[in-house]
Each structure stands twice: as structure tokens, then as C-alpha cells.
Amino acid sequence: MQRNQLAPGIYMTVLDAEKFNRCRITVHLRYPARRQSATDAAVLALVLERGYAGCPDMTALSRRLAGLYGAEMGVDLSSAGSDRILSSDLCGIKPQFALNGEDLAAAYTEIVLGILFDPYLVDGLFDAQAVAIEKETLRRRFAAEFNDKRLYCVQQARRRFYGDSPMGIELNGYLPDLDGVTPHSVKAEYDRILSASVIDVIVQGVDAALVADRVQAALAGCRRSPAPLSAPGAVPAVPVQHFAEKVPGLTQAKLCMFFTRGTTEHLPSIHLLRIAMGLFGGSSTSRLFRNVREKQGLCYYCGASAARATGTMLVDSGVEPGNESAAEQAILRELEDLCARPALDEELEETRRGLLSSIDAVGDSLGGLESWYYGSILRQEPFITPEEGKALTSAVTAAQVQELLQSYHCNICYAVTAEKENAPCQ
């Protein structure tokens, strides 16, 4: 398969979907993040999901999707280093299964492209009522972050870790900026994204020529100057900083540690990174799970993950209040041990087998395939098939894993912990 250019900065990739009963169209707009309009972008994603010019009403759109045999449509905002990705995707039964001969391909294409390229505007701006409603949704989302303490702890640690770096620009924007969001500012951010983004359309099981025609038609009158994709960036290594936030009534403390490689030199391959994380803390056979949770009983959960482009590694865990320091030391000991000597052959092979198995499973879902290939696009690498990915994963050595883990340094250790007993039920 190939990533074909439809126009400057607009690409289409067609993936095989023969064995599935459903099809999927995904559109990604990748653009440079900007601190001053991050909140506008967050509101924009919510407003876009409500409808488009051809079906402006949110409930009418939900009913239209239900009428298309329960097709699922979503709008999402995600991060890729210092870039952000505004995506729309639609998944529904394949056109040949339409019970009454409806033209499902045309309907799917119209909706998924309409959401991003033909928004519902009133006098050239986003609908004021929709913007006002979604500002309040976002305000509630800010407030809700605290309710999930695991996520809250990770977010707090992340804020300390990235500081003012463009990589740390909040996906949901900033509460103090919310009042300043207007239909005009949301439209300005939309125009910026549409102009600056690199657009990738990924088609699975739908007539690609039809989608290509519609994409070109939708963007025909649009002046665009796609920005180059952001270069990888890394947070410099600094002496570890500890933060502890006491939350009255919390039952289980949360501990989150952020590590950096401090450099963008010698980015590891994604295959090496996956093996290293699997071995350290990414699976139920990892060092963190086996030793810190199972043997030492210090955490209920304790896992590691990493972002390649930013050279970041994250360890988060749920611990008994009062055990935060012991857990932190135990986590660091496991890392030090893997840095000091190569992993045992047996554990490396167990980790590798698990990863090979997960790569095999990529082809079992439309979403899995789409993520696999868009991941390559984000890393600016040529496409490789899952089978080729398995070969590269098989070639990773214990010495490479050891060398990679040696490059991480802990910058931030953030704990959300208990202060006093829970309030009793009444």
C-alpha cells in the first residue's frame, strides 16, 4: 500500500479491509500546537462533533447515524510531540450490506468530510449557541479531571514535567482562557488548522476514488500552506523534583514519575521502545509488575509507557498512603537493575513474544490497522507491514534495551496522597 498525494499536504492511504463487514474512513489534520489558541482548538473539536452544514443539528446527526445502521462517528484531538491532530472518523457496515440499497459510501463520505471541511457556520462564524454550550462542556471537563485521581496525578506530573514547552500545551486548553473563547476565535483557530495542517485520509473498505474526489472538491477553494511537521523535542534532564499533593478523603495514593532522555539524538526505533517498556513496566510479566506489585506488594498497579518523539517515559502507580517513597525507590531500583545488566534471555523473550502477538493482532480490527499505518506517518517513516514490524521486533537485543533504558533520567516525581480518613456515608 502507498500514501498518495492528492494535493500539496493532502494524502490518501487505502488499506485492505476485505475480511471485515464494516468499513472506516478517517481524516487526520496534523498542525502545530499553539498555546494562545489551545482552548479554542478544544472547543472547536466539541463544536465540530455536533454537526455540519449538511446536518447542523446534533440530535438530527445522531439519528442520521442510527439510520445508517448505527454508524459510529467521532471527533478527536490528540498530541504528537509539539503537533496536535484533529481527527474525524466514521465506521459503519459496508455498503454492500445495505438492506435497502442505500448509498452508504456516499453518506459516510459526506458526513466524515462534512464534519471537518464543511462546518455549520452562521454569518461566517461558528454558531454562537453551540460555542457557548461547548464552552460549558469544556468547563465541566476541567472540573472533572480531579475526579479520576489516577489521571489527575498523571496530568499534574505532566504539567510539572513539560512546564512551558510546546510539547506540554494542554489538549483541553486552559480554564483561564475559556471565557475569552468566542465564535470568532474558534473560527480563526479552525481556519489556522485547515490552512496549516497536513491532511491524511485513510480509507478502509470504501470506494477510494469516491472519497478522493470528495476530498479534492471539499478543499478546492481552500488556501492552504501546510506547516512542516514539528521536529522531535526533548525536555532537558534536571535533578529530580518531588511534589506531594494531599487530598482529604483519598483512600489510595497515586504516584507518577516522569523521565526524560534529554535529547532528540538517536531516537530509538518504535520496536526497541516497545520491548524496553514491556520489559520494564508495560505488561504483567514486566519487572514492575512482578517485583514491585507481586513480590513487594507496594502497588496495586504499576506500569510504564513511553513517547518516542519527546523522549519521555512515564511510570504511574497506585500505592498505600505512606508508601510513596518506598514505591518510588523500588521503581528506581528496577530501572537501575535493568540499566546495570542486560535483561535475562527468558524475560526478554517473554516480552518479545507478547509484543509479536500484539502485532499479529493489528490486522484483526480496522482501528488497529489504521493506527499502525498512521503511526508510521507520524514518525515520518516508510510504511512497513505488521509482518515486517515483527521481523524488526525480533531483531531487538538485550544490549539495545539496556542502552535505551540507561538514557532515561527521572525529572519529576508527583504524589497525590491521603490526608485523613474518608467521610462516612450518611
Partner: protein, 430 residues
């Protein structure tokens, strides 16, 4: 939906079934072209199974026993089954619900070996006082993690309001105190009673044939009849009115969270039609297609996470509407008013058809995924149904069925409202 559509749907979701002489039911959905095989080995033994007769001897279990057992089943004298799965590259896990416990793996190779590990692990329990003590610490941490979850606290508080003595009142994991009572003998009693093939189902989906799954069962000795003790579940039916119509408490949250819950008569084993009605009704009251949802959302009264669902066990059935809101009472009042309106005026036939279409699409989509297919097959089986029967029941459902059901469900006398306020906030007086 016309018959031809039902036939198409039935073909699309078809699974093979075999019942072995040991009593084990095997379900297999062969999915050519897929790499993964997902297998689930489940027993109809969950957290609400607390009292039973084993060969005529009464047994009472502490809260959290089924869940504790689930954690311990991975251990054997030879080591940890998770490590055996890791050696094959499989990903394994387990979970306990109110009425079942399920052990599972996903693998893309060495299917026979993985099936052998799964079947052996469940067939040969091994418990000691020492390993039980170690697990009590880990589960104690898990219990604490759930105590910090507003969603979970809403669910358990709703059960406590609605039921005076049904075992669903107790948390699935029990309490630190209840699991401290567990002994190897008690755990063996549970495996003797509920981990017998006749009480279990093996559900497998993916690129595998039924014959291959049956061969694994033969290797595990599951093709032979065995002597199994007689188990009689203690009959129970919650009596009397709802013990508590509302509950307020505080937690470290930033906005109030709420649950409006209704006690319903338990679903009879195999009553697929009523299960479908419960799904459809909750969607018609406040699902994303309704005007009520739109008013709640646009009015800033609920988040997109606002949802409805129902929980069903052998002895209890509860419908929930849950979410976060700065005005929980107002949301509850709007829900009550909508339920009353639907009861009075009947459901909108056009909306009813859209909800049915959506559920039909969801069912078909679910069966395209290996994990969802295996999971849905075993869950339906333990409720006394098949996926084909679910689709047929959905297809046969009419607006009149829902209108009729609404006359006797979601009634105010069987309602409980739970509200969680942010810590430090004054509690609203009743």
C-alpha cells in the same frame, strides 16, 4: 425487520456449540482471516453467590470470595499461570462480576498450548494459607482503588439503597475484613461446587475450529463424565419496599455525581425479550437520540459521559441513570418526568426504530471483533441465551411491547437517588 434480515443476521453471528459428557458447554465462532484467538472460560459463580448447599451441607461465603478465588486461580504448585501464558506470547487476564467469574487469554499462535494452560489452571486449584495471606494485601489495595472511584461508589450505594438483604449490596471484592476470613478449605469448597464443567462455558472466537477446541477439552479430560457434588443455590428473593430512597455522602470530587436507580424484578433465566426491552427503554428515555438528552446536554446539566445501563443477577435487576451534574436533583426530576411521559403517551415509533437499528448495528459490530465475540457469546450463554436469540428478540420487539413494559417498570416506589458531593461541602438535608 423482515425475516430475510433476521436470517442474514443469524448467519453473520453464527457460532457452533457442543456439550461434552462432562457437562461443559463449548461455544466456538470461527473467524477465518483473523490472527487472534480469544478464549474465555467462565463459571456462573460471582460475588452474589454467597449461600448454597453442597451435597446438602449449607455453606455461607464471606463477601468477596469469588473475586478472591479469581486472583488465586492463576497459582499452582508449579508456578504462576500468567508466566506460562507469557512464555507462549499470550495475554491473559480474569475478572469477576456479580454473577460470573471469567478467565481468558488472547493469542496469535500456539493456540493448543494456551488452551491447555487455561483449562489446566482452572481444573487444578491450589491454595495455601501463605499464598492467601499474600493476596489479601494486593486485594486490599484493589478495594481501596475502587473506594476512590465515584462511579463505583454510586453503583454500590444505589444497591444499598434499593436492597435490604440481596448480596448485590456487598462490593464484588468484599472488604479487607471479609476476605480476612478466607481459608484454603473454603476456597476448595467453592471450586468443588462451582468450577465443575457443568457449571462452566468455554467460549472461543477467532481463527480456530470447534474441533481444535474440543481436542483441547479432550486433553484436559473434559470429554468424560465425572462425579460432581450436588449444588443447590439458596433461593432468595428480595422482599418488601426499597429500604432507602436516597443517600448523600461526600468524596474528593469537584462536582456532584448522581445516580437515579430503579429496582426491577429479576430477569428470568433466558428471558432475552425482557433484556432487550431494558436496553431499548433506557435508550428511549435519555439516549443520545432523544430530545431529553439534548435538553440535558445543551442545558449544561450533564456531561457527555452521562449514561444509562442495567445490572442483572439471578436475584436482582437494577436500572441506572448516572452522571455528573451541578444540578443532580433537576436532572433526576427531568428523568422522572420523561419516564412518566413515555408511560402516559407511549414511545415515539420513529425513534424506537432508530434505536433498534442502532442496537442491531452494535450487535453485528461487536461480533466482528474477536474479543467481543467470545465475550458476548459466553455472557449470553450464562444468561440462558444465544446471540441469535438476542437478534431475533430485538427484531421482534415492537413499540407496543415497550409501552406495555413501561407500565410496570421504572416506578417511583422502586427508585433510589444517590448523590455524591465534593468533600467539604455541606450535605443537603433530606
Amino acid at each position: 425487520m423482515p425475516m430475510t434480515i433476521r436470517e442474514k443476521a443469524a448467519a453473520a453471528v453464527h457460532a457452533q456449540k457442543a456439550v461434552l459428557p462432562s457437562g461443559l458447554t463449548v461455544l466456538c465462532r470461527t473467524m477465518p482471516g483473523y490472527s487472534t484467538v480469544h478464549a474465555m472460560y467462565a463459571t456462573a459463580f460471582g460475588s452474589t453467590t454467597r449461600d448454597f448447599l453442597l451435597d446438602g451441607r449449607p455453606v455461607h461465603l464471606p463477601a468477596g470470595t469469588a473475586h478472591f478465588l479469581e486472583h488465586k486461580m492463576f497459582e499452582s504448585e508449579q508456578g504462576d499461570a500468567l508466566e506460562l501464558f507469557a512464555r507462549t506470547g499470550a495475554s491473559a487476564n480474569a475478572y469477576t462480576s456479580w454473577d460470573s467469574t471469567c478467565y481468558l487469554f488472547s493469542a496469535t499462535s500456539r493456540f493448543d498450548e494456551n488452551l491447555d494452560i487455561l483449562l489446566q489452571m482452572v481444573a487444578h486449584p491450589w491454595f495455601t494459607t501463605g499464598t492467601i495471606a499474600k493476596e489479601q494485601g494486593i486485594i486490599g489495595q484493589e478495594i481501596k482503588m475502587y473506594e476512590d472511584s465515584p462511579d463505583w461508589r454510586l453503583t454500590t450505594a444505589s444497591f444499598r439503597c434499593l436492597y435490604r438483604s440481596d448480596p448485590i449490596r456487598e462490593d464484588i471484592a468484599g472488604t479487607v475484613e471479609s476476605i480476612a476470613q478466607l481459608t484454603p478449605e473454603l476456597l476448595y469448597t467453592c471450586t468443588d461446587a462451582f468450577y465443575q464443567p457443568g457449571n462452566m462455558v468455554l467460549s472461543v472466537a477467532g481463527n480456530i475450529s470447534l474441533e481444535r477446541v474440543l481436542a483441547a477439552c479432550r486433553r484436559a479430560g473434559l470429554d468424560r463424565p465425572g462425579h460432581h457434588p450436588a449444588v443447590t443455590l439458596t433461593p432468595f428473593r428480595e422482599q418488601g419496599p426499597v429500604p432507602q430512597h436516597s443517600m448523600h455522602f461526600t468524596m474528593p470530587v469537584t462536582r456532584p455525581c448522581f445516580s437515579l436507580a430503579y429496582r426491577e424484578p429479576p430477569l428470568a433465566f433466558g428471558d432475552v425479550r425482557r433484556a432487550m426491552i431494558l436496553d431499548v427503554v433506557t435508550e428511549l428515555v435519555c439516549g443520545g437520540l432523544t430530545d431529553l438528552y439534548r435538553r440535558l446536554y445543551d442545558g449544561g446539566l450533564v456531561n457527555p459521559e452521562f449514561s444509562s445501563d442495567y445490572a442483572s443477577t439471578r436475584t436482582a435487576c437494577t436500572v441506572f441513570f448516572t452522571g455528573e451534574s451541578s444540578q443532580p436533583e433537576q436532572v433526576a426530576d427531568m428523568l422522572r418526568a420523561e419516564i412518566a411521559r413515555l408511560r402516559r403517551e407511549g414511545v415515539d415509533p420513529r425513534l424506537f426504530t432508530l434505536v433498534k437499528n442502532e442496537m442491531y448495528g452494535d450487535l453485528l459490530a461487536m461480533l466482528e471483533n474477536v474479543e467481543s465475540a467470545a465475550n458476548h457469546m459466553q455472557a449470553a450463554f450464562l444468561k440462558g441465551a444465544t446471540v441469535e436469540e438476542e437478534i431475533a428478540a430485538l427484531a421482534a420487539l415492537t413499540p407496543a411491547d415497550v409501552d406495555g413494559a413501561l407500565q410496570t417498570m421504572l416506578l417511583p416506589e422502586w427508585e433510589a437517588f444517590v448523590r455524591i458531593d465534593p468533600s467539604g461541602q455541606e450535605l443537603t438535608p433530606e
